[in-house]
Amino acid sequence: MDFLPLTPAMFHILLALADRERHGYHIMQEVEERTEGSVRLGPGTLYGSIKRMLSDGLVEESGERPDPEMDDERRRYYRLTDFGYRVATAEAERLARLVKSARSKKLLSRV
């Protein structure tokens, strides 16, 4: 697949959108929480990646607002497309194979 390997930022964004649609700040927060603060996406990285992912058909804008009363109308929500889901799965499998190789070379302990 031409898209693999994904950039770390793109993979983190796909992971953030895997369970629900989110707007930019939510994506950023989710990534930061999930990585315990080790990955912080800046505005340029986030929207630059989103721009590419939109044009590649990995994500799409969502017209729905999960909580319209609590939210600013100007925020754009994004969600995974079916193709984006397949690409994220393929990247996760690719990384899992890499980790397996690292384990076989005893670079990683079995946890």
Binding site: G42, P43, G44, T45, Y47, K51, R75
Partner: protein, 220 residues
């Protein structure tokens, strides 16, 4: 002493970030600038809530590094797009030149075939003539239809080429004999049939290749 909570929410810091956004290409800024500014405000608010000047320093450091890292990338992306537009223009110019060259060769062949009464050369001349004329007109119409409507490209090509081929054949069948005493309807029809098969076949193969490529991307 400044109040740290004012640093990223103050109009001055927002103006500064708006100024920093000018480092990005105009089109990117128009599309994502307001959302990036919103994100800047949200993140600034979160950094301030930690009540630590280091938090705010870290926040500005991330913003600066992000800008330095991503603004050149967006400009490069833009340049790549422009170069792809230039490549398309070059390809279109080449196709147009090809059509003109085919028309010239077709006219030369027709003249030679008529002067020397060589029917095979005449037939080739009619086919090339039809390919060049219908190709220039038909492909232009298909291009416009595909760009301006949501029609299926292959179906648009089928109907366009059917009409573009049928109209001259019918017209020539009606008035050809009265214009040119050496006019041969059979050869002209044969030429247009060859031309239709050629152009529709090309579009069909192109659609097939494109479909396979997309299926490959989607299925992998």
């Amino acid at each position: 002493m400044y109040k740290s909570s004012q640093l990223s929410r103050s109009p001055a810091s927002q103006r500064l970030y708006a100024l920093m956004l000018k480092a990005y290409p105009a089109q990117f800024r128009r599309e994502y600038g307001p959302h990036m500014a919103q994100l800047f405000r949200d993140c600034g608010r979160a950094a301030e809530s930690h009540q630590s000047p280091f938090g705010l320093v870290r926040f500005w450091l991330i913003i600066m590094l992000d800008l330095v890292n991503t603004a050149p990338k967006e400009h490069l992306d833009n340049l790549r797009k422009e170069s792809s537009v230039m490549n398309n223009l070059r390809r279109d110019a080449l196709a147009l030149f090809g059509c003109i060259a085919i028309i010239v060769v077709a006219l030369l062949l027709l003249n030679y075939g008529r002067a020397h009464q060589v029917s095979s050369i005449l037939l080739l001349g009619y086919a090339l003539d039809a390919i060049a004329v219908t190709g220039a007109i038909g492909n232009f119409i298909v291009f416009l239809l595909v760009k301006t409507t949501k029609l299926n490209p292959l179906r648009a090509a089928l109907w366009t080429f059917l009409i573009v081929h049928a109209v001259p054949v019918i017209t020539l069948a009606v008035i050809g004999g009265s214009i040119d005493p050496q006019f041969r309807l059979g050869a002209v029809v044969m030429g247009y049939v060859v031309s239709f098969v050629f152009w529709y076949g090309l579009h069909w193969m192109w659609a097939l290749t494109k479909g396979n490529r997309l299926a490959g991307e989607g299925g992998q």
